[in-house]
Point group: C2
Chain length 202, copies 2
DNA sequence: TGAATTTCTTAATCTAAATTAAGGAAAACG
DNA sequence: CGTTTTCCTTAATTTAGATTAAGAAATTCA
């Protein structure tokens, strides 16, 4: 059931079979349809989510009423609103499934009990969060060091296939521009690339 | 010597006196003059730094040759290039002292040994990094959800005194605008505020 | 399969913030 | 203490990307 999750943990720490068993007991599995919500603004973030299958997006609503996406989560990625999770205050985010999605759920109320029972997970999450911190620092380098066109190019190269998996307006939101502008960038960029002929079909 | 560091750790986990002793043995103390460097681009990040006194900035050089600041660290803040620390690859960042600064240094090579000896620190760093993750998520909300003027207002309010402590062009870089634009914002904003009279002096 | 909904594109106009330039004030430090 | 360096401000010009509008294509799902 949680094979992917246990495999992910095994990348960082070694669990005994008994510990792996305990981990399995603390998680629940949840299926979310396309456009279904795991978190809506106003409620405290109830859990951390590990994506087993599918894709999630985390976004908030700006003053102007636009959806601003700040994170995606594909298979083997964790997603949560850490502020709300830690403070138990209402979240300002939405976590929504971009496609039909299956997640392993670590309920907030049970997290500390699990960590007490399986201390190796303290280390797992420490190592994981260190990588999250590293990724965040890099993200600011891309954000401030590169133009939108460069960021799009980098993103397409770094996550091949992902660009085909989410609507372009969502990618635009994540990259910090309008769909119109991303469309312009792509038109300019793909001039040299193979165009599908009139009869071709994806 | 490391009273502030031990006090910070004590906010998250409880150490035995013996453990506190061990922690003290693993850190070294380093003094950096104003404009001195703890890390320069091209070298692997050698350690994590905990600021005991003073102020650090983390920045990189953009394609256009400008310094782009992405983080500051005041007293009781940790600072490191996590990417470089984890990968042992050359860093793209500089860590420089904004004022004469004293840091507690956790050398990369000794970090894992310390954590093995004092497992409670796995938890300390896990909890710390969870807060870092929360702060990072919030930072994107401010970045994308607010205008530069609002971000400046928020920042001044959230870190009173800090605005007076670093040069304005550094704050501008961190906030993501030019010094000229920040100057304009401040001129507009402070119209209603008390101006120092002609005879007044700081 | 076919209507309804979502998504993508192009193009004209507009705007927030960058760039450039240059003078003046404040700190640093020898 | 004074001089060198660093820092701040104002203003004219320019630009990257937003906004608005509208039609075309692709998906979804009943």
């Amino acid at each position: 059931m949680y094979a992917a999750l246990l495999a992910h943990i095994a990348r960082y720490v070694t669990l005994t079979p008994a510990e792996a068993q305990v981990v399995g007991n603390y998680f629940t599995c949840q299926t979310v349809p396309r456009k279904g919500y795991l978190l809506e603004a106003g409620q405290p973030c109830p859990a951390s989510y590990f994506v087993l299958q599918g894709c999630l997006r985390l976004y908030f609503i700006t003053e102007k009423g636009a959806e601003q996406i700040t994170q995606f989560a594909l298979e083997n990625w964790w997603l949560a609103d850490y502020s709300s999770l830690l403070s138990r205050q209402p979240s300002e985010y939405y976590i929504q499934a971009v496609e039909p999605t299956v997640v392993a759920v670590l309920d907030y109320a049970r997290q500390e009990a699990l960590l007490a029972q399986v201390p190796a997970l303290e280390r797992y999450f420490r190592l994981l969060l260190q990588r999250v911190a590293a990724a965040n620092q890099k993200r600011w380098v891309h954000h401030y060091g590169e133009s939108l066109e460069e960021r799009y190019q980098f993103f397409s190269a770094a996550f091949p296939g992902f660009v085909q998996r989410v609507p372009q307006y969502m990618l635009a939101s994540y990259l910090g521009c309008t769909p119109e502008f991303l469309s312009k960038i792509r038109a300019k960029t793909s001039l040299g690339e193979a165009r599908p002929g009139p009869a071709a079909k994806g």
